[in-house]
C-alpha cells in the first residue's frame, strides 16, 4: 500500500513537472545576449534620478507592509477563532465570517501603507482621484475580495467536510476551474471603453494577421480622469479576448511607433496564449498550495472546522510571499516574450525604445531598480532590459542576411 502511494506521488510529481516544462517554452531565443545599456544616456540623468526618488519610498514601504500583514495575520491566526461566536450559521458560514474578518484586519493593516502610497502618487501627479474616492473605492474593492474568499471557503470547507484530509485535490481542481472561468469572464467587466479609431484598427488587424490570430476585440479605456499613467493590457481567452489601451497612451505623449509597439505587445500575449498559460500555472500551483494548507491546518482539526480558517489565511499569505519570486519570474518571462513578438511584428526597435523611455518619463518607472526588488516584485523586465532587448533584436536583424 505504501509503495502504491509512493508511486502515485511520484507519478503526480512527474506529471506536474512535465506540465510545467511544457508551459515554459518562449519565442525569445535561448541565450539571447542583452547588450549593456547606458541608463543615464538612454533615459536621461534627470529622469533616472526622478524615477529613483519616486520608487525609493515603495522600496521602503513594501517590506514594512509585508511585515505588518504577516504580523496581523499571525495575531489573527492565534486569536481570530474567538470571532466564531459572532456567527449564527453552520461551520461553512462561520468559516466565511472568519475569512472575511481576517481579510478585513489584513486590509486595515495595509491601509496606512496604501494611504502613504496614494499620497505619494498624488504628490507626483500620478493620480487624480481625491482621498474620499480612493477610500471609498478601496473599501468596496474589499467587498470583491470578501466574495472571492467566501467562494474559496465554500469550496474548501465543503470538500473538507466530506473528504477529510483529501479535500485539497478536488478543491484545487475546482478553484482552478473557477480561475479559468474568471479569466474568460473578466473582459466583460471593462465597461468604460470605446472601439479603436480607424488607423489603430487597421494596424491591429495587420498585427493580428502577422501573429496568426484573429477575433480579438480592441478597445480604448478612459482613465485620464483618474491618472496620467500610461498602460495597456490583454484580457480574456477564446471569444472573450480583448486588448485594451488606456487613453493616456493616446494623448500625444507617445509616438505612433511607440503605440504600435504596445499594440503588438498585447496581441503577442494572446498569440502566445499567455492568459491560458497563466491559468495553467495557477492550476499547477493550486495543487501543492492546497496540499500545504491541508498540512498546516491539520493542527487545528483541518479545514472542515472554521477555527482553522485564520491559520489558513496566515499560511496562504506566507505561501504567496514565498512563491512571489517564482511568480514574478514567470511574469517577466511572458512579458519578455510579448516584447520579442512586438519587435518581430513591428520591426521597429526605435518605437520600442521611445515607448520604454516614455514609460520612465511619464510613469516614473525606475529603468534599473535594485536587483532584490526586481526579483521579488518585478512583473516586467526592467525598462533598461527592455531597451537592451530592442537593441539585441536590431543587432540580430543586421546579422541576418
Amino acid at each position: 500500500m505504501r509503495a502504491l502511494r509512493a508511486a502515485a506521488w511520484a507519478a503526480g510529481i512527474a506529471a506536474w513537472a512535465l506540465a510545467a516544462w511544457l508551459l515554459l517554452p518562449s519565442v525569445v531565443p535561448d541565450g539571447l545576449d542583452l547588450p549593456a545599456v547606458d541608463v543615464d544616456g538612454v533615459f536621461g540623468r534627470q529622469v533616472v534620478d526622478d524615477a529613483e526618488d519616486f520608487e525609493r519610498l515603495f522600496l521602503v514601504l513594501w517590506p514594512l507592509s509585508q511585515a505588518a500583514l504577516l504580523g496581523t495575520l499571525w495575531l489573527y491566526a492565534r486569536r481570530g477563532a474567538r470571532y466564531a461566536r459572532e456567527s449564527a450559521g453552520g461551520p461553512i458560514a462561520t468559516g466565511m465570517l472568519l475569512a472575511m474578518l481576517g481579510l478585513a484586519f489584513a486590509w486595515l493593516s495595509q491601509l496606512p501603507f496604501d494611504l502613504v502610497s496614494f499620497w505619494w502618487l498624488r504628490r507626483h501627479d500620478l493620480y487624480r482621484l481625491g482621498y474620499f474616492e480612493w477610500a471609498f473605492g478601496s473599501y468596496f474593492a474589499l467587498g470583491a475580495t470578501f466574495l472571492t474568499a467566501c467562494l474559496a471557503v465554500l469550496i474548501v470547507m465543503g470538500f473538507a467536510g466530506r473528504l477529510g484530509d483529501r479535500w485539497w485535490l478536488p478543491a484545487a481542481a475546482v478553484i482552478a476551474g473557477i480561475a479559468a472561468i474568471s479569466t474568460f469572464a473578466s473582459p466583460y467587466l471593462v465597461t468604460d471603453a470605446k472601439p479603436f479609431d480607424p488607423r489603430l484598427r487597421e494596424t491591429a488587424e495587420r498585427y493580428e494577421e502577422s501573429q496568426g490570430v484573429d477575433g480579438i476585440r480592441f478597445e480604448v479605456e478612459r482613465v485620464s480622469d483618474q491618472t496620467p499613467l500610461a498602460n495597456a493590457y490583454a484580457v480574456g481567452v477564446g471569444p472573450s479576448r480583448r486588448v485594451v489601451l488606456w487613453d493616456t497612451l493616446l494623448d500625444g505623449r507617445f509616438s505612433t511607433g511607440a503605440v504600435d509597439v504596445v499594440l503588438a505587445h498585447e496581441i503577442g500575449h494572446h498569440s502566445s496564449y499567455h492568459l491560458w498559460k497563466g491559468t495553467a500555472w495557477f492550476a499547477l500551483f493550486a495543487l501543492p498550495g492546497a496540499y500545504v494548507l491541508m498540512r498546516v491546518t491539520r493542527r487545528r482539526g483541518g479545514l472542515a472546522r472554521p477555527e482553522a480558517v485564520p491559520l489558513a489565511l496566515l499560511a496562504f499569505a506566507v505561501l504567496s510571499l514565498a512563491l512571489a519570486p517564482f511568480g514574478t519570474w514567470l511574469s517577466r518571462r511572458m512579458e519578455a516574450e510579448a516584447d520579442w513578438k512586438a519587435l518581430q511584428t513591428t520591426h521597429d526597435p526605435r518605437g520600442a525604445r521611445q515607448l520604454f523611455t516614455g514609460f520612465a518619463r511619464t510613469s516614473l518607472g525606475d529603468p534599473d531598480p535594485p536587483a532584490w526588488s526586481q526579483w521579488l516584485l518585478g512583473t516586467h523586465p526592467t525598462l533598461a532590459d527592455r531597451v537592451a532587448m530592442a537593441r539585441a533584436w536590431a543587432a540580430r536583424q543586421q546579422r541576418t542576411p
Partner: protein, 414 residues
C-alpha cells in the same frame, strides 16, 4: 419600565366618517396654517427656553407650557391629517383628543445636553423623518418623501372610505410614527432631556398584536462586536449574492405554487417548506444588514438559528380568489414595506454609529428594526403564498393578545 416624559395615548376606536375622510386633506388646511404660525412662535420660544436652561438648568413653566401645547396640538393635527384619529381637533391643543400626548412638567436638565441639543437631536430627527410622523418631520416632507405615515394615510384613506373603519395595524403604525415624532420634537424644543425612545411599547394602552402565521422571535442581546459592525455591509455581501440567487428560485417556486394552490387550495408542503425557509433567510439577512441582529447568519434559513428569527406556521388552506389576485392584493403591503425600508435604513445607519461607539445596539432602534424585518417577512410570505394572512403593520415586538379586530384575510388588515 420607566414612563417617558412625553407619552402617547390612544383612545381611538378605529371608526371613521367617510365624508370627513374623503375631504381630510382639505379639512386639515386651517389647522396646518395655524400649526405653521404656532410652530414659528414655538421655535422662538424654544430659543428663550434654551437660554433659560443654560442659565437656570430648568425651563420656565409658562414657556414650557406654551411649547408643550404646540407639541400636543401638532400631534392632534397629524393624527387627524394622517387618519390616525377621526374627530376634528380643537385649535388650542388643550382639549382631549383620541391620539394625544401627555407631557411632564418642567424638570431639571443637563446644561451640556441643552447646549448641544441641536446636534444631539439629529439622529432622532433622522428616524422621525423616515417615519414621517409628527412635527419632527414636517407634514410636507412626510408626503413628499413617502414617509411611513404618509403611506399609512394613503392606504388608510381607501380602507376608511370603503369600510368606514381604519385598519388597526395601519392605525397603530401611524400613531407610533406620530408618537415618535412628538418625542423627537419635544426633545429638540427642550421640553425634556430624555432622548426619544423608538420602542413601540411606550404607547398607552400598549398596542395589541393578533396572532399571525408569520411571527417574530427575538432573542437578540443587543451586544455587537465592533469589528463585525465596522465591516457589516461588506460582510453581508455573500448573503446578498446568495439571497439574489435564492430569490430567483423562490419566484419560480411561487409561480409553480400559485398554479397548484389555485387547483388544490393548499400550497404543497415541499414548496411551503422551501418558501418558508426563504422568507426566514431573507429576514435573517435583512436583520444582519440592518443591525437589528448581531451575529453573522447561516445560509439556509433554519428556524431558531438566528436571534431575530421568523416563525412560520405550516401550510394552510387558502381561498382561491385570494390566491388568484395575490399580486394585486399584495400591493398595499408592498407600499408599506417600501416605506418601512426607509426607516430600516435609518435604523441601520444610526445603529452602525451607535454600535461602533458603544459595542451595543440601542434597544429602541433594534426593536424598530426587528418589527420592520417582521413586516417584510410577512409581506414576502403573503406574496409567495406561504400564508393567506395579510401582513400586520403594528410595530409591537411581541405579544399575542387578541385584537379588537381579527387579522383579516385581505389588505384591510395591513
Amino acid at each position: 419600565m420607566e414612563p417617558l416624559p412625553i407619552r402617547l395615548t390612544v383612545a381611538d376606536d378605529l371608526s371613521r366618517n367617510r365624508l370627513t375622510v374623503a375631504f381630510r386633506l382639505l379639512l386639515a388646511l386651517p389647522h396646518l396654517v395655524w400649526l405653521l404660525l404656532w410652530g414659528l412662535a414655538a421655535g422662538v420660544a424654544s430659543v428663550v427656553l434654551w437660554l433659560a436652561i443654560l442659565f437656570e438648568g430648568r425651563a420656565p413653566r409658562i414657556l414650557h407650557g406654551f411649547v408643550a401645547g404646540y407639541v400636543r396640538y401638532s400631534t392632534h393635527v397629524y393624527a387627524y391629517l394622517f387618519l390616525a384619529a377621526d374627530p376634528f381637533p380643537g385649535f388650542a391643543g388643550s382639549s382631549a383628543y383620541p391620539v394625544d400626548v401627555e407631557i411632564d412638567p418642567p424638570a431639571r436638565q443637563g446644561r451640556w445636553g441643552a447646549f448641544f441639543r441641536l446636534v444631539l437631536a439629529l439622529p432622532a430627527l433622522v428616524v422621525a423623518s423616515a417615519l414621517g410622523g409628527g412635527p419632527g418631520a414636517d407634514s410636507s416632507s412626510a408626503w413628499s418623501t413617502g414617509g411611513v405615515v404618509a403611506v399609512v394615510a394613503f392606504l388608510g384613506w381607501f380602507a376608511s372610505l370603503a369600510r368606514a373603519r381604519m385598519p388597526a395595524g395601519l392605525r397603530d403604525l401611524g400613531t407610533y410614527a406620530i408618537g415618535y415624532g412628538a418625542q423627537a420634537t419635544g426633545y429638540l424644543l427642550l421640553l425634556t432631556d430624555r432622548y426619544p425612545d423608538s420602542r413601540p411599547v411606550h404607547v398607552s394602552p400598549a398596542p395589541l398584536l393578533p396572532h399571525h402565521a408569520v411571527r417574530l422571535t427575538l432573542r437578540d442581546e443587543l451586544r455587537r462586536d465592533r469589528v463585525v459592525i465596522a465591516f457589516r455591509l461588506l460582510l453581508a455581501l455573500p448573503h446578498f449574492a446568495w439571497l439574489s440567487l435564492w430569490s430567483l428560485a423562490a419566484v419560480l417556486a411561487a409561480v409553480a405554487g400559485w398554479v397548484v394552490t389555485l387547483v388544490r387550495g393548499t400550497l404543497p408542503r415541499p414548496l411551503h417548506r422551501f418558501l418558508a425557509a426563504y422568507v426566514r433567510y431573507a429576514a435573517h439577512v435583512t436583520a444582519f444588514a440592518s443591525l437589528a441582529g448581531g451575529p453573522f447568519p447561516g445560509f439556509v434559513g433554519r428556524q431558531g438559528s438566528y436571534p431575530v428569527d421568523i416563525e412560520v406556521d405550516g401550510a394552510e388552506r387558502q381561498g382561491r380568489w385570494g390566491v388568484l389576485g395575490r399580486l394585486v392584493l399584495g400591493v398595499p403591503s408592498l407600499l408599506v414595506s417600501t416605506a418601512l425600508a426607509g426607516a430600516l435604513f435609518a435604523v441601520a445607519l444610526l445603529g452602525w454609529f451607535a454600535s461602533l461607539w458603544r459595542g451595543r445596539m440601542p434597544h429602541g432602534l433594534r426593536d424598530l428594526g426587528a418589527t420592520i424585518v417582521r413586516y417584510h417577512a410577512q409581506t414576502h410570505a403573503y406574496l409567495l403564498l406561504v400564508t393567506p394572512r395579510y401582513p400586520y403593520a403594528c410595530p409591537v415586538v411581541e405579544g399575542a393578545a387578541p385584537s379588537t379586530e381579527p387579522a383579516a384575510l385581505g389588505p384591510a388588515a395591513a
